[in-house]
Symmetry: C2
Subunit: 129 residues, 2 copies
DNA sequence: TCTCCTATCATTAGATC
DNA sequence: AGATCTAATGATAGGAG
């Protein structure tokens, strides 16, 4: 009780943007920041009337995603333009997303539905026998 | 000059999370918040050693994406699990991503590279003649 | 569209439960 | 793995250039 004065809350401490080595801390930060990111992605989609998709792949094989779909969207492929601001290759992430959808059954049907028009051919090394 | 006192800066005003109707304001907010989102996605990828992909589709046909790839990643499909926290269907966004990649030439080759193992079959209504 | 400014709101690291 | 609290950093709306 009397220790409360000594147990000062530290508040938001500045952190360098480098990999967090401590497993527990890294996991906690991931959980918190992913939620924050998702919240902001959701807000962006509503405020600015756009679709957003968010995909996460962790090295230990965990995978999660989020997306917010604009209800005002009008799809007109013929007008599509691309504004490329990527720094790394999104294809790598999406490729695994597709592979995952192809490899696993279950919930995957949801993912495959729009992709099923594409005849999947397992890439070398990813054959599941 | 003397007006400076009256021209007080308003600072960060709270906004409801509803579609911004004013075109200029919506575009400005999109630009700012997308940058913010990308920065946070990047930080998350570094801090927590994960891959992140971010895809944006606007109703007027604009499209952009971002992704950060972990350099420590080890791909082991057999261990994949899924933690599904989506609120809308990410497939819709990714489907269009794939369609876009298939429909347009150019920069698209980058995107198609990992997807080219999938034999694309144009869905009805999306044939480009 | 981007940058700068600044007041203010929002997120979050660390600790604790 | 969550929820809560606090103090501090971070993000950003509006205005101006």
């Amino acid at each position: 009780m009397g220790d409360d004065i000594n147990k000062r809350k530290t508040g938001h401490v500045k952190r360098q943007v480098v990999r967090i080595e401590n497993d527990a801390k890294r996991q906690l930060t991931f959980s918190r920041r992913r939620n924050g990111l998702i919240k902001k992605a959701y807000e962006l989609s509503v405020l600015c009337n756009i679709d957003v998709a968010l995909v996460f792949h962790s090295p230990d094989g965990h995978f999660s995603h989020f997306s917010a779909k604009s209800r005002f969207m009008t799809l007109s492929l013929s007008l599509y333009k691309s504004i490329c601001i990527h720094t790394y290759r999104i294809e790598d992430v999406l490729y695994r997303f597709v592979c995952l959808g192809h490899d696993k059954g279950r919930y995957i049907q949801r993912i495959l539905t729009p992709l099923q028009r594409y005849k999947a051919i397992s890439p070398p090394g990813l054959m599941t026998a």
